[in-house]
Amino acid sequence: EDQVTQSPEALRLQEGESSSLNCSYTVSGLRGLFWYRQDPGKGPEFLFTLYSAGEEKEKERLKATLTKKESFLHITAPKPEDSATYLCAVMYSGGGADGLTFGKGTHLIIQP
């Protein structure tokens, strides 16, 4: 069973059409939930860290929220340059290693 599940796997939107990406997790002892953006052929680019349920963070057209079992990345009025793969990752106690556990990502395409 995957510890971090992202949905949908792929999403195609029209420019200006707002939507949300989901990241659900089954780990306990969450130390942090992270959102990254990855463009083709590049490394993941850090977006947000969330630490506790109820926390929200915003950056331009993106807003990340966290509950006890999932996080949402809300994209408001997206532009074509927002097209990328969005990755969610968690760090948790008892994971056996001090690294991030990633979901498989949501591939987002914004059409002009």
């Binding site: 993941p44 990752a89 001090d98």
Partner: protein, 113 residues
């Protein structure tokens, strides 16, 4: 890219040969990580380091070793490359402690033929 340089950026090697990938940082961060990214699996942790000469295994460490003799350099060695190790390898750094965001390099695309 938060002062992270991976080398080489691309490499093709033959099965059974040893390969070393290098990660160099200029941020003086304590934590360094090696991940691999494969279709259908996402990013998976291979090894990480929490200081000079202090390293530990991640989720997929079999067939890999690491060394960190200086704060700025973290080496990943494939002792005898296999086709299953064809992947894109990413180095990441973090100021720490665990729970602090990590910043990634541009990646090394390794093909084992």
């Amino acid at each position: 890219d938060a002062g992270i340089t991976q080398s080489p950026r691309h490499k093709v090697t033959e099965t059974g040969t040893p390969v070393t990938l290098r990660c160099h940082q200029t941020e003086n961060h304590r934590y360094m990580y090696w991940y691999r990214q494969d279709p259908g699996h996402g990013l998976r942790l291979i090894h990480y380091s929490y200081g000079v000469k202090d390293t530990d295994k991640g989720e997929v460490s079999d067939g890999y070793s690491v060394s960190r003799s200086k704060t700025e350099d973290f080496l990943l060695t494939l002792e005898s490359a296999t086709s299953s190790q064809t992947s894109v390898y990413f180095c990441a750094i973090s100021a720490g402690p665990p729970g602090t965001e990590a910043f990634f390099g541009q990646g090394t695309r390794l093909t084992v033929v």
